[in-house]
Subunit: 467 residues, 2 copies
C-alpha cells in the first residue's frame, strides 16, 4: 500500500495505516460513556466556534479556486453555492447540528433481547457501534462536521472523504475536530480525513479494519464504490420512484401527489420519475394531472395510450405547453432517473401490472399509489418490493427527518442491515453478553438431551444493560 | 453467462436465468400469507415422507461413490458418515425439522416503528423478507431441507449449493421440494439448487437478483466467497475464541470453563483456541487448569511464563502427559483455529492486556472471562469487540438454539445486518409504509419551516400491520 495522505501533523500515512489507526481508536473507545461522547461533541462545537474566521478563510480559498473552474466552464455555479460556508446562517446551522445530534437518544446500549438461559445465567443482546465507517461525500464542507457528529454520537470511528472542491475547508474542519479530540477521551484518529480518490480505492480494500462504507453522492460515485468494495456498502445509487394512479384514484389527490412527487424538489432521490395511470383514468383524471404538471413546466414522456388520452382532451391539447412539453416515451425512459422536470408516463390495465412494472423498473426506493380502494392500497404496499410504499402520500416523504428518525445518515436501497432513510440506528449493530452467577461457572456440556434443559425464560422490562 | 445447470425438468439454465427466476418467484410471493407458507412446509414434509425410499436410493448412490473415494484415500470416513441419510432417525429428524420451523413465530410482518406524521398520515416500519438467498454448504444433504424450511418460513427465495459428494441426494430432495411447490401458492423456482463451483462463481456476480449469500462451511470456503462476492455475505470464516482467567478467577470455574470451552466439541467454531492467564495465577489456578486439560488429552502450547508455572508444579511436571502434550507456543499459534485438542496459552499482566490480545487476535466470534470481580466482568464484556462476550460461562454457549432463537441460520462475525448466532430474524429486513387518510392526499410541499409541522407522535401498542 503506497498511497499516502497528509494528516494534521504533516506525517504521511498509508491507507492501511489510516484504517488501522481508525480501528485502534475505535477499540480504545469501548469504555467511553454516552455522556463523555456528548461532551466531546460540545467541545468540538466550541472549537469550531472559536475558529470561525480561519474556517471562512480556508473556505474562501476553495471558493476562489471553484470560481476559476466555473469561469473555465469546468464547474457549475450551483456547486459553488454548495461549497460556500460563509453565506447566511450556514456556519451557525452547522454548529447547531452538532448540538442537535448530541441531544438525540444514544443508539447504543439498548437491550433488544434478554433471556434466562439457566437459573443463574442471563443472556443479553445489546446494541453497540459497528466499528469503523468510511464515508464518501461530495462538495458540501459542512458534511464533514455532520458526519463527525453522527459517528461520535453512535460510537463509530470514521474516515471521511469530501469532494476535492472543498479540500481546504474539509482539511481545516477535520484538523479542528482532531485538536478537540486530542484533549478528550477519544483518540484524534477517531475522525480522520483523506483527500484523493486513490486513497479511497486503497481504503476500499482494507476490509480487515473498515466495517461499513457510506457513499453519499452521485449515482456514478455510489455504483463505482459498490463495484470496488468488498466491505458492506450502505447507500442508494438511484432514486427511481413511481406514482401509480389506481382505477379509483381521487382526482384532487392524484393531481396534488403527482405534482408534489415530481416538482417539490426534482433533483432529490425521492422524487417521482415515472407515473403509471390506470386505463380507466385516461380521459378523466389523467388529463387533469397532465395539465397541472404542464403548468409546472414538466415534460411528459408518454406511451401511446396516455398520449391518446391527452390528445382527446381539448383543454390539454390546446395548452400552450403541449407542443413543447409532451412527447413520446422511449423504453429507456422507464429506467432513467431524470432528476429534472421530466416524467415518464405509462398506462397500465391493472394494479398487478403496475406492481410488475415498478418491481421491474424502480430502484426499490419509494413508490406510491393514489387510490380510494383500501384493499388495493394494502396490496400495493405489500407487493411493491421497495424500501417505501405509500398510500395517498407523495414519495417525497421518504426522508429520515420526515420519518421522525431525528437525523438521516443516508438512504439505503440495499436489503440487508438498513433499508430506506437511515437514522442513527443504522450505525449500530449488537453483541451478545452472557453473565453467569452459577457457583461453579456455566458449561455447555451440562445441557442438552438427557441433561439440563435451557430455561429460555424472557427477562421482562430490561431496556438497558443491568451491569 | 454460459455456465448452465440441469433443473428438475431437464432444461439447462444459466446462472443469470436461475437468479432471475428466483427473484421473480420472490416478487410473485409477496401476497402469500404466513399460514400459506406454513401449509407449504407441511406439504413438503408429506412429499418427502412419501419419497423416503427414493431418497434413500439416491443417498446410496452418493454413499457408494464416497466409499470409493475413501478407499482411494481422497475422502475421510468422517465425511461419509455426514453424507448418510439412511442411518438411525436422521431422515425422520429432517422431516421433524420442517415442522419445527413451521411452528416458529413468523419473523415477517412485525411493526418495529409506528408514528403519526400528520393527523391522518401514519408511518409503519414492517419486517419483510430480504429477497433471494444464495446458500452454500458442505456435504450434509439434510441441509437442503433445513435451508428450504428456513427460506420458506421467512419468505425468501433460495438458491442452494451443497457439497458435490451429496449431489444425487441433494438433487432429488430439491426436485421433491419443487414438485410440492408446483401445487402451492409459491413458484417452483422459489427453491432451486445448483451443482457446480462454476455456477456459484457465476451466481456471485448476480447482485441484481441475489440479495444475500450465506456460506456455511470451511474457513477457506467462506473466505473465498467473501472475496469473490459483491453481494452481502453472512457467515464466519473463523471461530478463534479465547478464555481469559482473570486475577480473581475461581479455580473450579476456571477448570470447568476452560475444559468445556476446549473439549466439549473441539471442531466447533465456538470452541476456545486460546487461554489467557493472569500472571497472579501462574502457580495457583493455572496448574490446576493445565492438569485438567492434560487429562483430556489437550496439547498445551505455552509461552515462557505459563510454561515456567507448569514446571514449578511437581504435580504437572510429573504428569504422564507432560512431555508429550506440553510444548512452546509460536506466534502463529495465537492466530490459529486449531479445531482440535490444542490450546495456545499466554500469560498477561492485566485485564486490559487480555482485552488487547483478544481484539488483535480473536476472530470476534465469542470470548469469555472467568472472574469473581463483577466490574472486571463488565469491562471485559464492553471492551472485547466480539459478537459474544461472556462472564463465567463457556464460549460453547454461542449457538442459536442455546440462545433461544428457535433455530440457527448461521453464525456471523460480520458487523452489519446480523452478528453472532443468527435466527430467522437474520433473514428479514423491513420496509416503510405510509397510509394517508387526508381528504386531499398528503404532499411534502405543505410541511416544513413556516408550514405544517410533522406530528411525530408514536403510535403505541401496534405490533402487526393494521391494514
Amino acid at each position: 500500500m503506497t498511497t499516502t495522505s497528509g494528516t494534521s501533523n504533516g506525517i504521511l500515512k498509508s491507507a492501511e495505516e489510516i484504517a488501522k489507526a481508525a480501528k485502534a481508536a475505535y477499540e480504545e473507545s469501548q469504555l467511553v460513556t454516552t455522556e463523555q461522547r456528548n461532551d466531546v461533541l460540545e467541545s468540538i462545537r466550541r472549537a469550531l466556534q472559536a475558529s470561525r474566521d480561519k474556517v471562512f478563510e480556508a473556505n474562501r480559498l476553495d471558493l476562489e479556486a471553484a470560481e476559476k473552474e466555473v469561469q473555465a466552464g469546468r464547474l457549475s455555479q450551483q456547486l459553488v453555492k454548495r461549497l460556500d460556508l460563509t453565506k447566511g446562517s450556514k456556519f451557525d446551522d452547522m454548529l447547531q447540528g452538532i448540538s442537535d445530534v448530541a441531544a438525540l437518544p444514544d443508539p447504543t446500549g439498548h437491550v433488544t433481547y434478554a433471556t434466562n438461559l439457566d437459573e443463574e445465567m442471563e443472556l443479553y443482546r445489546v446494541t453497540c457501534p459497528i466499528g469503523v465507517l468510511l464515508v464518501i461525500f461530495e462538495s458540501r464542507p459542512e458534511v464533514v462536521v455532520n458526519i463527525t457528529a453522527l459517528a461520535i454520537k453512535s460510537g463509530n470511528a470514521a474516515i471521511l472523504k469530501g469532494g476535492k472542491e472543498s479540500a481546504h475547508t474539509a482539511a481545516l474542519l477535520t484538523s479542528i475536530v482532531q485538536s478537540a479530540l486530542s484533549t478528550s477521551p477519544l483518540s484524534p484518529s477517531f475522525i480522520q480525513s483523506v483527500q484523493t480518490r486513490q486513497e479511497i480505492s486503497a481504503l476500499l480494500s482494507q476490509d480487515r479494519y473498515i466495517d461499513l462504507v457510506i457513499p453519499r453522492g452521485s449515482n456514478a460515485l455510489v455504483r463505482s464504490i459498490q463495484k470496488a468494495s468488498r466491505i458492506a456498502v450502505m447507500g442508494h445509487p438511484d432514486g427511481l420512484c413511481a406514482v401509480y394512479l389506481d382505477a379509483s384514484a381521487d382526482g384532487t389527490k392524484a393531481v396534488r401527489i403527482a405534482v408534489d412527487a415530481k416538482c417539490d424538489y426534482p433533483s432529490a432521490c425521492n422524487s417521482a420519475e415515472t407515473l403509471l395511470v390506470h386505463e380507466s383514468l385516461i380521459t378523466t383524471v389523467w388529463p387533469k394531472v397532465a395539465l397541472a404538471l404542464l403548468d409546472k413546466g414538466v415534460q411528459l414522456r408518454c406511451d401511446a395510450a396516455s398520449l391518446a388520452g391527452l390528445r382527446s382532451s381539448s383543454e390539454v391539447s390546446n395548452n400552450k405547453s403541449f407542443a413543447s412539453l409532451v412527447r413520446e416515451v422511449t423504453t429507456e425512459d422507464y429506467d432513467t432517473e431524470f432528476l429534472d422536470l421530466i416524467l415518464a408516463v405509462k398506462v397500465v390495465s391493472s394494479l398487478s401490472q403496475a406492481v410488475q412494472h415498478i418491481n421491474a423498473h424502480s430502484s426499490h426506493h419509494t413508490d406510491a399509489i393514489v387510490t380510494e380502494n383500501a384493499e388495493n392500497g394494502t396490496l400495493f404496499c405489500r407487493a411493491v418490493d421497495s424500501a417505501g410504499t405509500f398510500v395517498n402520500a407523495s414519495t417525497r416523504f421518504a426522508d429520515g427527518f420526515r420519518y421522525g428518525l431525528g437525523t438521516e445518515v443516508g438512504i439505503s436501497t440495499g436489503r440487508t442491515h438498513a433499508r430506506g432513510p437511515v437514522g442513527l440506528e443504522g450505525l449500530v449493530i449488537y453483541k451478545y453478553m452472557i453473565r453467569s452467577a452459577d457457583g461453579k461457572g456455566s458449561i455447555a456440556g451440562e445441557f442438552g438431551t438427557g441433561k439440563k434443559p435451557f430455561l429460555h425464560q424472557k427477562i421482562q422490562g430490561v431496556t438497558r444493560l443491568p451491569f
